[in-house]
Symmetry: D2
């Protein structure tokens, strides 16, 4: 190797001497293209799902249609009382939020949901639930198809923080798809946030949140304000009293 | 709902009167939740596609399966010589790159492609094409299923700049899906870049580029280096000599 | 040029042939270092100030100690009633805010201020003023030396949005220095913010705000919420009723 | 103040009672301002230096003018052979780079340097040294006052990655000041970078690097490419054979 390098250097030197060339880019030096090619590290091979909705091979499947074994009551850790039927599960009013047993930080999340089939209520009272990244950063779930509410509380909003770029909600008879890229916040030793959480969301394939920097946990009442917390925390789904359905939930740790 | 609000208001009022409280957060003041609710601007309503692959109502459809009317030769502006068959079109070797007639800046882009059905060549010689945002920022198209090449040149790489997080390529018999969020670079009056272009890419639904900041135009030979350019420029597809197929291309201006 | 390029290519070809080298990075190819060297565009020459406090040659000096000719009443555009003495000027209670005649977007701002020499009041009542980038994004000015207030309202806070990383305030007898890097927000055609404003602040040379993404205009009452506005707007200084002094103000457009 | 608050509260109460208002922002509800005021966590008190050049009380002083006790040879860990004279130290040609004994990640760095007093050489040969954050991310030190070189290699460049926004170099008889905000890169379990290092630099008080995202370690030859490394690594100063002087070096962990 050493010898080869020396030979290369010699050739190169000869090359320079003979041309007297200053290799500045402005003269469009024809470098070997290999100079900008790298071989390591090799990205791991992942089998994507059959469709873009299906879990890729490196995903942790949180709900495949069968059971809620990956979940527990957010209140007391008991088995969730939400009901599984026909490959979906439905919020069981009054039984409280549920959360994953596993904790997550930076993730790609795929989740599908559907508003109640019987339309009841208006605004925040119609088909309300929520997806809480790290248990505290809410991506809103709501029937926003033909129902008005505050813009920063409609479906696909980061609740009371960021209005979706567009309203891509479907009719309540249809399933909605969220594809989420979430990056956890970082804190310093004084408990002050040094990097806010960021989130990107596609709603039914349409960009609705574009690398939004969260202001702190999403609050129903009052102002978001970061407090230092663990690097990984469970994903939570909200019981807001409406029979919202969920299906096909998977997550990839980034 | 209305009644409930009034009741809340009354309670809140009573609460204030009875305590004469200085409203500092540390005392967990029960503010009216309406304080953090906004009603304007209202995000435009968009009908998403039937599936997440289909163009939403606000998309500009660049190829729906019929013709290349939205495209022209990148070389001379003539009508593209690439062939449309069965709802797809195929790179016609030696006819050169094609580009959109319309120019774009910040966009969400959906595009599907398929490697040639007869496997020929290796590495960069197998199923090579490319998607050039603004005509100069390349998201690589390549048959990377079971063919080795430099990591920053495989499918879903930002060519010679950013390795994909994972290799989510499917077998060449299948269609590949790219969902892209691209933000154009900004330049100051001295021609120096003040905000690099950023790109996020889902490959077959799997995150492969996460808000990557490009270093300049992607170069086969030499080093990327930004040069000030227009705010909007055409999207380009590369003729690299391999019969790569494309279909279902749409773009949303952000 | 053509000929020279061809000669280079020939030499280079000879060079490759003779070594038989595959130029992959893994073999630590000794490329010519000139390959990564660029000569354009040339950054403009700027004479920095004699000290880091002094305006560099490309700065717009907003106050050099002499007069308020660059400023006007924010209310009615009349000449400011704030008083210039000894190379400084002082907030004149009740005369209202003042703002620059010129509008600014992305800037580097240097500004020095001093709390009133007679300590009166507490918390927000002691030495309160403010620096409003684009007339609406406030970097707080306050005597926070030995006076308590809410953390997101102390000196060097982004008012009611971001607590400074540390409290670097000096005793009120001394001059305080802010060095600010501000990037204006961007909005889309629907009036929705697509890039929040960001701010970095050094307070007396100590980092207190690190590329913080603002949530909207800073509000005394209520919640910040972006509304689309012009690319450039005047810089404003606040009359909060306290005789805060200012001096040595300059800005560089970025 | 107290009284005023109580009056405000009364007014606010009356206001609510009289209107029975739904508190939407569009009606400009007069919320209590205290709703957006936070008291924790309290930013630590830091005594800034007497001038913005002096180390604040929470800084780790790496060179105060006396000795090189905080440093060691980068090659073999021996005591540095660079010479301390008159409150400065000078690169001792041929003795190799020196680095801090302590390792650092995210930092604010203040450092002053001066080109050799006898001008020798041109371009990269004149007054060349370098400041390597984490031992591998170089902020260039060079006499760029009236000497031409490649723009991405001049003083205040991120070596071969980012041209400074302006050339704020002083004459070699004068001391140069760098104020740096650096954020370390992050890597995932596969060794792929998930957050690039970022850097902001003020050169003699003038912004020259604005939150630039590094592409990997800065390389003299070849292309930057991240490799996973420790969260904290020593700061290194380069012996490039020229008698560059340094003084007044301090760092704050962020």
């Amino acid at each position: 190797m050493r010898t080869r390098l020396r030979i290369i250097t010699l050739f190169f030197t000869a090359f320079i001497l003979s041309t007297g060339l200053a290799f500045c880019q402005t003269e469009k030096t024809q470098l070997p293209p290999e100079a900008t090619e790298f071989y390591e590290p090799v990205p791991p091979k992942v089998d994507p799902g059959k469709t873009t909705l299906d879990p890729p091979s490196d995903a942790i499947v949180l709900f495949s249609g069968k059971d809620l074994d990956m979940w527990q009551s957010a209140k007391d850790g008991s088995f969730p009382k939400w009901k599984v039927t026909d490959g979906t599960f439905v919020v069981e009013k009054g039984t409280g939020d549920i959360q994953t047993k596993q904790a997550f930080g930076d993730v790609q999340l795929h989740i599908e949901w559907r508003s109640p089939q019987v339309i009841v209520g208006e605004g925040q009272g119609r088909g309300n639930s929520g997806i809480f990244l790290m248990g505290m950063y809410e991506l809103q779930v709501l029937d926003s198809y033909e129902s008005k509410t505050y813009t920063n509380g409609q479906a696909a909003s980061i609740y009371k923080q960021s209005v979706p770029l567009v309203n891509a909600t479907k009719a309540p008879t249809e399933w909605e798809v969220y594809d989420v890229i979430f990056s956890a916040p970082k804190f310093n030793a004084n408990g002050i946030v040094t990097k806010p959480a960021t989130i990107t969301v596609l709603h039914n394939g349409v960009l609705v949140q574009n690398h939004f920097a969260l202001r702190g946990p999403t609050e129903y009442i009052g102002i978001p304000n970061y407090k230092a917390h663990a690097d990984k925390l469970p994903l939570k789904l909200q019981d807001h009293g409406n029979p919202v359905s969920y299906r096909n939930i998977w997550v990839r740790e980034l």
